[in-house]
Every structure is written in C-alpha cells, then in structure tokens.
C-alpha cells in the first residue's frame, strides 16, 4: 500500500478512467476503438488501483468467482448473437433495418448516430465485458501469486 497522496489521486482518477473506457466500448461502431481497446483501458485502471492499494485490499471487492461469471457470460452473449443470424450465414448482422440499433447512416462523412450498427454495438459490449473480467482476473491472480497469496475461489 502506497502513501495517502497516491491513494487519494488514484481514487479520484479511477472514475475518469472508467468513464473513458465505457465511452470507447459503447462508441465502438462510431469512433476508433471497440470492445478490446476499451476493456484494456478499464483494466489499466484496475492495475493502477492494484499499485496504489495492496492486492489484499483489492481482493475484497473483486471476487474471482464474479469475474469468471462475467467473462463466461460475455463469451456466451457473443456466440449467441453470432448464432442467431445463422439462418442466412454465421454471424449475419440481422439487426440492420430493425428498430433496435437499425438505422442506416448515409454513405460518406456524417455526424454519427448512436442508434446504428445493428448487432455490432451489442457485440462490442459483450467483448468489453469479457476483456475487462478476464484481464482483471489475470492481473489480480498474478499480483496475489507474487505476494504469496492464494487465489480466492
């Protein structure tokens, strides 16, 4: 555990890191980024908390079972969304033109409508969930192992 200055700054900074990561994930179909990149941003915030506080402190709020469930549900949502469109072809974008995320933007430069993209925003969310949970579990497990602690069930 580091000094009080570092802990206070990390406490304030994690809010902005989480907001930016969620922004990158949610706007994956409009701006550069996506599920993998936004998830990496959020996991960098988790690593910052791991440095500022000790791994034993962080273990109380990040349970490994919860992280496993989050990662598995992200993968399941991803594969389910890919299999729903199998009537046409595997991973068919079946939501384009429907009321859910179905608007079609004009070809060429445009201001960007969030309610577009079909199945892609949902897949970005699923992949973001998966990356956040998986990499957080890896970082936390490695830190606990280096400290001689057991990985909590």
């Amino acid at each position: 555990m580091l000094t009080k200055i570092v802990r206070t700054v990390a406490n304030q900074l994690i809010v902005f890191i989480l907001i930016f990561g969620l922004y990158v994930i949610a706007h994956g179909h409009l701006t550069p980024g996506g599920g993998f990149q936004g998830g990496a941003v959020i996991v960098s915030g988790v690593a910052m908390l791991l440095v500022a506080f000790s791994s034993q402190e962080l273990k109380k709020s990040l349970r490994e079972r919860v992280l496993s469930i989050m990662e598995s549900s992200g993968a399941l949502i991803f594969i389910t969304l890919a299999f729903i469109g199998i009537g046409t072809v595997f991973a068919y974008n079946f939501l384009v033109g429907t009321p859910i995320f179905g608007r079609i933007p004009p070809t060429g430069p445009n201001p960007g409508d969030f309610w577009t993209g079909g199945v892609v925003p949902l897949m970005n969310l699923a992949v973001g969930l998966k990356v956040v949970a998986g990499l957080s579990a890896v970082v936390l497990a490695l830190a606990l192992f280096a400290g001689g602690e057991e990985v909590e069930e």
């Binding site: 384009v96 070809t107 892609v120 990985v151």
Partner: protein
C-alpha cells in the same frame, strides 16, 4: 563459449529468415498487387452494416469468425493462468 557460438549461429539464421521473409512484400510498389476487397468494403460498409467505423464493421461483421478465434484465445489464456496459479499453490501445500 560453445553455447555463445551456437546462439550466434541461431540468431543469424533467424534474422536471415525474417529479413528474407519480410523484404519481398516491402520491395513491391505501394498498393500492388491491387485488391478489390478493400474498395468494396470502403464503399459498402456503411450501407450494409450501418457502422460509421469501417474497421469495426470488418472486425465484427465481415471477418467475425476471426474475432471469435481472438476471443477464444483470450478465454484460453485467462483459464490457463488461473488454473496454473491455483495448481502450483495446491502442489506446494501437499508436498
């Protein structure tokens, strides 16, 4: 001494392999041989998938199967790390 000489030979072989493998695509002119796929995706991605971000539309729509493999690699890596750390801890306890 002998190990160093062997390492140097292996290093030279690997570097020669990489250089010979990488150079021919670089030595060609930029954009040749031309491909029709990228033009098609740039022109039709917004209309077909509704994404403004053409890269995301390629990753999550046109080449979705590769992304599935990527996610599987991540899943396998996480599972392996957690399994490995837990197993090594258990072995220390039993011995």
């Amino acid at each position: 001494m002998k190990r160093q000489v062997t390492g140097l030979i292996v290093l030279l072989v690997v570097v020669a392999f990489l250089v010979l493998g990488v150079l021919p695509p670089i030595m060609r002119d930029f954009g040749y041989p031309p491909s029709d796929m990228d033009d098609y995706i740039i022109e039709n991605a917004q209309e077909e998938t509704g994404n403004n971000n053409v890269v995301t539309s390629v990753v999550f729509d046109y080449r979705m199967f590769d992304t599935l493999g990527e996610a599987t690699i991540l899943f396998t890596a996480v599972t392996g790390v957690l399994l490995l750390l837990r197993a090594s801890k258990r072995r220390e306890e039993s011995s």
